[in-house]
Subunit: 359 residues, 2 copies
């Protein structure tokens, strides 16, 4: 029997098993074979292993100190098959990413600062650098933390997940038209929009300008077919204005996204209320890339969003979404703008997983 | 942060977290509160804890060396609420019970024999003594084991789960009428049955005698409403014959159970094929109490079951059920008959669970 050290952590709204590469080396077996057996796959219940029988609980993150000068930690995400005898290495997971900085600090791979600690992480699935920032009062990770996020009823450590210099990655400029606001047609009239490219290209419209409050539920928006057609026409015109498509008909369904924004209710601690439309429907919360665009829009004078906000959003924006509050975060790191979202993570268990000699 | 030692084991078709009582003592908190927080409850996904979000994966077994002279280990089963802030201590779990003997041997609470080891366990939920027998070749638990059971696609250690002296617990006698076979009416004719009380009262009928092969699927039996009515009438008459009910109408739906038995296909390693009817429907496999009754019937000359079996069943019976093979086991322990089923168990992980200081 082999004993494989592993740590079980919640990252965002997922449960992730955290390994180090060295510990997954088993004579005569591939890493895929080892992960599948440890997780109890293939089996729809994963009843003989550590997998949870759902996609959000059949995940592994594998870490190593980075060989790159640009990063402290390299990490690789693995979606471990449940019914299928297959490990998918093709994409990163934004939830499990949040476990990397707390793990690296606890492991001593990064020296903790007296207030907070920045960890430079390299995701090897996507070759993307992500800056993570974690609170380390008095130079150490504290207790379980107090950060709440939508979808998780318990608090965790806040983990800032920041993208380096996200402006203009698709179009070459933060404001592809050169202006913080533009006019676009909506149902026969002109409305003011902000076209911004940060994290992803996003069209921002004040909800009031299209006859909405911005506080609507999914059912209240998704059932209004005519409204959705007008909003999609506006979104497609925006794609042309931003240089992403050459014609309205040629615009993709997924890019740009459309954000409807409004002032929060009095007393709400949110800076802004957001309803994001994605693929023609209301998003239940907010994609992380969309939250980056909204944060940079809030921080630039003259945008539709900045005009609605009176609070100081230089370090991040608190957004009310249908699922609850989403907090973003930004800083200047070595002269480079970093913008991202705040997630939460918690170490659930330190373990040794038992792998049979043969299977 | 508290670190709570725990072992994750599969027992039968469940995943069970195994604790020792001492380790669950946390100042200012009840054991219920500690278990609920460790499991991540209440939350339908248990995403911030070790629970799996299903009833078969939100279970704890708590052990201690026994204070009783009759047992080596006392164990208490806890069904930990998922959505509900509630721990249910009201019943035992036959699946999680199978982890007790392997844990006690690994922990050194019981000296291992050179071939196998018997562990006397006391379940405190039900105050029931259960004898468990585990293979210990050369005086130790081996690797993960090779025992397969229905519902689990991986092998585990075989664990015999035996009930002491199970005969006559409901009616006072193994054969309540004094005879190994009786005649009962079925659809206007007489059929031969065995009425037996061991583990639970069971009526055993040869499938052929009621126009079936005994190899039917659930759909093939559950859709034959008229057949089910005739079988239930026979079962109710049996209740009267066994002295469990005073009239056909007064018989309970659950007691006695009805077992249809048949010879296996040529080449099948099973001794017998069984279709158990429970609450008017085909049981997907076999309740452990039903398997005890069938085993004792197989071991007594003249019963419907013994007449169908030519192999030696003195140490147990291999039964083919709709879900696969179920193996039973029996022995004489200190002069007392012990009969039970073989389950399987596997140690999945040794862990320390992290409990926040406050929550």
């Amino acid at each position: 029997m082999f004993r494989i050290p592993a740590t079980w952590m919640r990252g965002g709204t997922s449960k992730c098993w955290v390994f180090e590469w060295d510990h997954l080396q088993v004579p005569g077996k591939t890493v895929d074979e080892v992960l599948l057996r440890l997780f109890g796959s293939p089996d729809h219940r994963q009843i003989d292993g550590v997998g949870g029988g759902t996609s959000t609980t059949s995940k592994a993150v594998i870490l190593a100190r980075s060989l790159s000068e640009d990063a402290d930690v390299d990490y690789t995400f693995a979606q471990v098959g449940i019914d299928e005898q297959r490990v998918d290495w093709g994409s990163n997971c934004g939830n499990c990413s949040a476990v990397v900085a707390p793990y690296a600090i606890e492991r001593g791979w990064v020296d903790a600062g007296q207030e907070s600690t920045a960890v430079r992480t390299l995701n090897t699935n996507t070759n993307q650098l992500i800056l993570q920032r974690v609170d380390t009062p008095h130079g150490a990770l504290g207790d379980a933390g107090t950060q709440m996020i939508p979808g998780v009823p318990f608090p965790g450590m806040p983990v800032g997940m920041g993208f380096f210099d996200p402006a203009g990655r698709t179009t070459g400029a933060l404001f592809p038209t050169g202006e913080p606001v533009e006019k676009l047609g909506f149902d026969g009239r002109q409305v003011t929009v902000t076209l911004i490219d940060a994290g992803a290209p996003v069209v921002i419209v004040e909800a009031d300008a299209v006859g909405l409050t911005g506080h609507e539920t999914a059912a209240e928006i998704d059932t209004r077919k005519e409204l959705l057609v007008h909003l999609d026409d506006l979104r497609r015109d925006a794609a042309v204005q931003m240089g992403i498509a050459t014609s309205r008909a040629g615009a993709e369904r997924a890019i740009p996204k459309l954000a409807l924004v409004a002032r929060p209710e009095p007393g709400d601690k949110a800076d802004i209320v957001v309803r994001m439309l994605s693929m023609g429907r209301l998003h239940p919360a907010l994609a992380i890339t969309g939250s980056v665009a909204l944060t940079m829009a809030a921080q630039h004078k003259g945008t539709v969003l900045a005009n609605l906000i009176s609070s100081d959003v230089s370090a991040g924006v608190t957004m009310r979404t249908p699922a609850g509050l989403v907090q973003t975060w930004s800083e200047i790191n070595d002269g480079v703008t970093v913008v991202g979202a705040l997630r939460s993570a918690r170490r659930i268990a330190d373990a040794e997983l038992l792998l049979p000699d043969t299977w």
